[in-house]
Amino acid sequence: MNAPKPTKSLAGTACRECGEGHFEFIQIDHIEKISNDNPVTVPGVWVNRCDHCGETVFPAISVKYIQSSVADQTEPLTGQELERIREELGVDRQDEMSEILGLGTKTYHKWESGAQFPTRSMSYYIRMLAEFPEAFEWLRARSWRGRNRLKTAEKSPLVIGAELMFPVLAANPGRLNTVMTSRINYAGVLFAKV
């Protein structure tokens, strides 16, 4: 695929970085560094580059081209693929999927909406779960995040302190948890003084 060329450029504009050169509109072989992975070379990218200091300004369409070229080589899952996999695995809600995968809800939502992309390793992991639904069901049954949250709440000295201070609420763990969520700092201060 040829790199797309925008209709407008900075050609001839004075460079403000060095104050001495001017921008040229040229094609370069761009090297994109990717964390925890080999760099990816994207050939023929249109950029504005200063003929004196090398300051480079990327047209939006070139950034889009770089991102899609990197995606071709690193194979991240797209939002549509993630949605399809989630539905095939029988998960109705995004927050449930994020819980099972051990992610923040917003992180998973950004991936499925296409605002951000999962890393290559996470994409491999989710593809493997899609390929082996029994592995996904095993993970789902563990419910690690949910259990860890409960365990932390049960063991927390703040909760123990709150139970001592609010015996009526302690008889109703659900209510105590709600109160704790909104008043945890207050309870913590009181507990520290006891």
Partner: protein, 127 residues
Amino acid sequence: MEKCQYILERDLPSPATDEQLETILEALADPDNSVNFGHSAEKWLADTNTSEQELCGAIDRHIRAGRKVFRKFEKGSKTKLLPDDVQANVTIFNDEDDLYVSIWIQPGIIINIYAHEHPTGRHRLPQ
């Protein structure tokens, strides 16, 4: 985490003009041909796996919501304003830190977006 602090009102440059904001919105409506990204912005997009539409969309939303956009002082000056530069503290994702965005407006409706995370210890522009 250190609580962020904002630049005092008396030290702020004047707000961007309506004409500058109009030009930016017009460019953002046709990003493929009218928007450029400086090296810092391109690197931020790559490092955070964020699409360029998301950054353009966040700037568009920031302006349309009437949030603050300021002009920029010339380097080393606290009074002389650059004619074609504006800056803002833009929220890209609600659950993440804001991004410092600087825009250089070119004749012929091209905007050049520079963006980076806020350096530690530096005061931010109010939103």
